[in-house]
């Protein structure tokens, strides 16, 4: 390698590492201040804790009802994503395999609907679904996520199914498999890569969503972002506790990401290119 290339590489590395620190810095502030005493935070938010206290975490845990919020988030995310995978893969399979006009129009409507922002229909939406929401708000929220997630998920599956040769379906039906059996036993397992993409993209969206849960959920069903927001609003002057609350909101998803990093990155690049 010549000198110029080596200097270039050094500069790139320098810029990269500086930016990486900058990107991480806000989280550093949260973590470092979450174990400090209130006075120490105000005196110097940047300093390393002089005296470590876990009291903030204890308080935040109890006040934001961390385990309840975490459980709610998990239930809502897992159920919505699973149902979305089941429904949208079936719909996409149907649309990709039946080459009639109706299927084509349905697919076009699905694609066009992706441009509609939720805000454009949120008001009539809330008026219409008020009874369902008061009947069971977690169930209602899952139902809504299926409705709003169908278009993108179906679109992703549709692109993938088009690459699976129809001979496989024909072979299955000659062997006497019914439509459903052929789909679930043969086609669905072949779509594992795109299923991972659909799962990750939807899980990130649903886990972090705020507006819809804010409109729909009552206090006992609050998800993690919602309870973090409300907790911060109430206790923002208790800096240490507020920071502990934020740390609690950040930690679960970051751990999950570090474990499944490869899947995350490839899922998003798959989803973006289609």
């Amino acid at each position: 390698m010549n000198l110029r290339a080596r200097v270039g590489k050094r500069i790139t590395f320098g810029v990269g590492i500086t930016l990486a620190f900058a990107y991480f810095f806000p989280f550093f502030l949260v973590f470092v201040n979450s174990v400090k005493l209130k006075y120490d935070i105000l005196a110097n938010p940047l300093s390393i804790p002089l005296q470590i206290t876990w009291d903030n975490f204890e308080q935040a845990f109890a006040k934001m009802n961390f385990f309840r919020a975490l459980t709610n988030s998990l239930i809502i995310t897992v159920l919505s994503v699973s149902l979305l995978i089941i429904f949208s893969s079936m719909l996409a399979y149907y649309l990709a395999r039946s080459k009639n006009k109706v299927s084509k129009y349905i697919f076009l409507v699905l694609v066009a609907s992706m441009i509609v922002p939720f805000q454009a229909l949120m008001i009539p939406f809330m008026a219409r679904f008020a009874p369902l929401v008061s009947y069971n708000n977690r169930g209602a929220l899952i139902f809504f996520y299926i409705g709003f997630g169908t278009a993108l998920s179906t679109f992703l599956y549709h692109g993938f199914i088009s690459t699976i040769p129809t001979e496989i379906d024909e072979a299955a039906s000659i062997d006497g498999a019914s439509d459903m059996v052929a789909f679930w036993r043969i086609i669905f397992p072949m779509m594992r890569p795109i299923t991972a993409t659909v799962a990750i993209i939807n899980a990130l969206w649903i886990w972090n969503d705020f507006l819809l849960p804010r409109l729909v959920l009552d206090e006992a069903s609050q998800t993690l972002p919602l309870s973090t927001y409300l907790f911060y609003g109430q206790y923002s002057v208790e800096y240490g506790q507020a920071m502990a609350g934020l740390a609690l909101a950040v930690i679960p998803i970051v751990i999950f990401y570090l474990i499944l990093q490869k899947q995350f990155i490839s899922g998003i690049s798959q989803g973006a290119v289609k």
Binding site: A20, S113, P124
Partner: protein, 300 residues
Amino acid sequence: MILLKEEKEIQVPKARAVKRFLKFAGLPLAIFTVVLVVPFVNGFYYTFTDWDGFKITKLVGFTNYADSFADPKFWTTLRFTALFVVVSLILVNVVAFGLALIVTSKLRSANFLRTFFFVPNLIGGVVLGVIWQFIFNSALVSLANKYDWEIFKQSWLQDTNKAFWALIIVTVWQSSGYMMIVYITGLVSIENDVLEASQIDGASPLRTLFSIKIPLMAQAFTIALFLTLRGGFMAYDVNVALTDGGPFRTTELISLHIFQDAFLEGDFGTGQSKAVIMFLIVAIAALVQVSVSKRYEVQR
């Protein structure tokens, strides 16, 4: 007899096709229609009536739209949103493309860097917004008083112009990691022999970037620009958590404005007509952007 038999033969597969449609597509399409299509169509209709959230007594023509445009706060919001969309669109994409170049430059630490750049994207806008609220309102103010930094002595979130930049900083920090992945996908899709050929021809790295790489990955730009455009118009979480529209409703992006109108002030008719206006703006902007960017895509 023969005719009847023929009819039967045509009808049986048709009945089976309907059954197949119901089995595979019935439920998902029903949910999609109920959750998305019906409220969307209703929403259009409601804007031409005196709907108050519960009942409709008469049609009112364009009154709701006239009221929306007569509201000076709505104009403030539209201007603020337009500026936010343009600035965030440019900065998010410039930064994200830069990050993608760093991460794909064959550094040994590339994966490590990529991990850091992507982390803010994992966390919801509200939590990110609240973190930065602490930074702007408390951390920076206390540091400014300690070290006498004039610029941070008063919280940025209390001043409309500075709050705008605060929103931009948080948005760039949040979204650039995701768009970086889109650009990385584009960059690594370029065949190596094309790059080698340009090297042999003596093209400088900068020349290679602008004449080879960018034109060959134009599709990634189409996608990233579309996503940031849409994200800019729909931004809500960061706005709520960072400024909540303050000071005095001067930093309200359109989503938050509609939310306040409908759910805090109870103006369902004008709120919904503003929502329809928002939809039309987003749809037109996205269509123009996609058709313009598509023109730059190279067929391979």
